[in-house]
């Protein structure tokens, strides 16, 4: 990654993260967020994580190389979902994801 692009990515993202970390602590001293804003902020994680998972799994040209290569990430993801529901552990999800993906790719 070129240094210039890294600096743009890093500093811009950090500014946003720092703002979200610091601003409410100062702005809301002695006050509370309105329920509507709290509700909207609360919907960000599920919407964002679902969008990221879909972004990784959905590929318009995935079936060009045949059905099996396109299905591998979907089946592996289904396995990770089962592990996530059962354990809620990031570590186990990452480990099981790698194992599922490698095993399915070898078939």
């Amino acid at each position: 990654m070129p240094v210039n692009e890294f600096l743009v990515l890093w500093l811009s993202s950090w500014a946003a993260i720092a703002f979200f970390r610091v601003a409410p602590a100062f702005a809301l001293r002695g006050r509370t967020l309105s329920p509507r804003i709290t509700e909207a902020l609360g919907y960000i994680p599920p919407a964002a994580f679902a969008a990221l998972v879909a972004n990784d799994l959905v590929s318009p040209g995935a079936f060009d190389a045949g059905p099996w290569p396109a299905l591998v990430p979907w089946i592996a993801a289904a396995g990770v979902v089962a592990v996530a529901v059962k354990t809620k552990s990031m570590l186990w999800c990452c480990v099981s994801g790698i194992v599922f993906y490698i095993v399915l790719s070898l078939i």
């Binding site: 990654m1 692009e5 890294f6 990515l9 890093w10 811009s12 993202s13 950090w14 946003a16 993260i17 979200f20 970390r21 610091v22 601003a23 409410p24 602590a25 100062f26 809301l28 001293r29 002695g30 509370t32 967020l33 509507r36 509700e39 909207a40 902020l41 609360g42 919907y43 960000i44 994680p45 599920p46 919407a47 964002a48 994580f49 679902a50 969008a51 990221l52 998972v53 879909a54 972004n55 990784d56 959905v58 318009p60 990430p73 592996a76 993801a77 990770v80 979902v81 996530a84 529901v85 809620k88 990031m90 570590l91 999800c93 990452c94 099981s96 994801g97 790698i98 993906y101 490698i102």
Partner: protein
């Protein structure tokens, strides 16, 4: 004081090492030097944001779209910061800044519990806890990047580690009607964007779509519920 806090958070530190090392390996795969990994890890201190940057960068998404996506996912810190604010009422501005600027999810959970308990815990302890966790995370990611430069990890597998992490984070969310609507709408919106060729803005646009549909759904159903009650 440091030892006392380490005794409290060592399980979290172990988890940070286990997640941080692969995260650093993936960051190394995007071409980041170890100093870049350390700088980014010890300022972001958010696995999801770091994995997101790597994932979207490897997918060729433009920088502006990556920043928008990271900003969207990091907005959850506003909630943590807002909810910890009342417990920092007695702290000075400098202490509030120090605690808020170094807040992480795990540190937030521990600090909030301790501040609510109120026993022998204040802004100073919260800040030291944050610093210990940030140092652990930054060092783990950097070690991962250094090791990853020697060991060759295929991009598809490395990328699927991110997918697995996002699945875990998704299924760690509270199972409520609004969350399900937001998640399903966000995922469907990404698919539609990608099939229409709007790959670059698929993630940030879909987050907004997911939130908007969940809020609209709440407004309609709650309104109907109120009408039915009358």
């Amino acid at each position: 004081m440091v030892l006392k806090i380490v005794r409290t958070v060592w399980p979290v530190m172990l988890t940070y090492v286990a997640i941080g090392a692969p995260c650093g390996m993936i960051m190394g795969q995007t071409g980041m030097e170890p100093w870049m990994v350390f700088a980014l890890s010890s300022t972001f201190v958010t696995g999801s944001g770091q994995f997101m940057i790597c994932n979207l960068w490897l997918a060729g998404v433009p920088a502006a779209s990556i920043v928008a996506s990271v900003a969207a996912i990091s907005s959850r810190f506003a909630l943590y910061s807002a909810s910890i604010a009342p417990h920092l009422a007695g702290a000075s501005k400098r202490q509030t800044l120090a605690v808020a600027a170094t807040l992480t999810e795990e540190a937030y959970g521990i600090s909030l519990a301790k501040l609510v308990e109120g026993e022998d815990w204040g802004p100073r302890e919260s800040f030291v806890l944050n610093v210990i966790l940030i140092a652990t995370w930054g060092a783990s990611c950097t070690m991962g990047a250094i090791v990853g430069a020697v060991v060759d990890v295929p991009t598809a597998i490395a990328s699927f580690v991110c997918t697995s992490l996002f699945i875990c984070l998704l299924f760690s969310q509270r199972l409520s009607r609004g969350n399900v609507v937001a998640a399903v709408s966000g995922a469907v919106s990404v698919a539609v964007c990608k099939f229409l060729g709007f790959t670059n803005i698929a993630v940030p646009a879909s987050v907004v779509v997911g939130i908007a549909i969940a809020l609209a759904c709440d407004a309609v159903l709650d309104g109907r519920g109120a009408r039915d009650a009358r």
